[in-house]
Amino acid sequence: MGTNNNKMDAMQQDIFREIANIGAGHASSALSMMLECPVEQDIPEVQLVPLGDMMDLLGGAERVVVGVAMQVSGDMSGYLLAIMDAPEAQHVIEVMRGQPLEKPPEGAMFSEMDESALKEAVNIMGGSYLTAICQMTGLEMFLTSPYASMDMLGAILSIALVQAGQSGDYVLYIKSGLFDAAKQFAGDLLLIPSEESSRTMLQSLGCM
């Protein structure tokens, strides 16, 4: 795959899916401990699509979501994002803090402490995800501290599309859906590696 190649072969897709499986497996264990209930994961979705098509595949550019983004650096660059609907973010915060949501200041999505709890939860989840991938690939990667916002999906994801657009016209995303059995929580973890990094990942596993 590459800038001028907008296709992934079946083997590359399988490798990314396996990476997602392992990453999300660890992330769901971490989330499970935080939420104190079993958390499962969907079959990961791996897509290489034109920049403008990504929003529609993830529920539409106007879908209102809570997004928490972390930048990946080190041997790989890219973004790791957690995307969830507002009630689900609220659930995570309430379980994390063991108390009902605080009233947010005007114009903000959550109170400072609530937002901080959400970011911490995503940080732990993202850290587990990435650590698992590091162990699997032998690559060394780091995460920046998370940034959170509630906005339209298009606005949240533009941060990752800007990165993808700088090197090509396509974006690769690796999506893992996490949910708990009681259906109180469901959210997506999205790994969006830069084009170069998607090759690094494949190479580290002996493919390409």
């Binding site: 339209m152 298009g154 533009s158 090197s167």
Partner: protein
Amino acid sequence: MATLMVNIAQIKIARPPDMLCALGLGSCVGVVLYDEDLKIAGMLHVLLPTPDGTGIGGQDTMTKFADPGILKLQEAVLQAGARKSRLKAKMAGGAAVLTASASGSVGIGQRNGEECLRMLAKMQIPIMGKDLGGTCGRSLYFDPGNNILRVKKLIGGESQL
């Protein structure tokens, strides 16, 4: 009446009663060029200010850049019959949604907005309305029938340019 969706890096042309629409813009900018006499309008959905010069591919879709995307937008509206001397512009977007976020995209919204303004100034197209910056995503709706650009935000509601 049709609503034409303008996705990232796309240019669409509309005449009344059709509308132009770009949804969920974060750091992206929506630029509209219109000829009010002939009621022809075109919208471009800008992702990045300029090619970064590293030359790593991605040059197929030059319309993802403000420069040369806005030139392509002008070509498209002129081709649809608009007159160059009558072209006017409206634009919105360029927010910093995940504020102070990751280094690579610090200020990308702001840079997008500035590059669009610079291009339009260079092309001598008057800017009749703009809503740039901030920290909130936007959806844009342009009606070539009355040349109003509606800007919808999650927080702060709706405004008209």
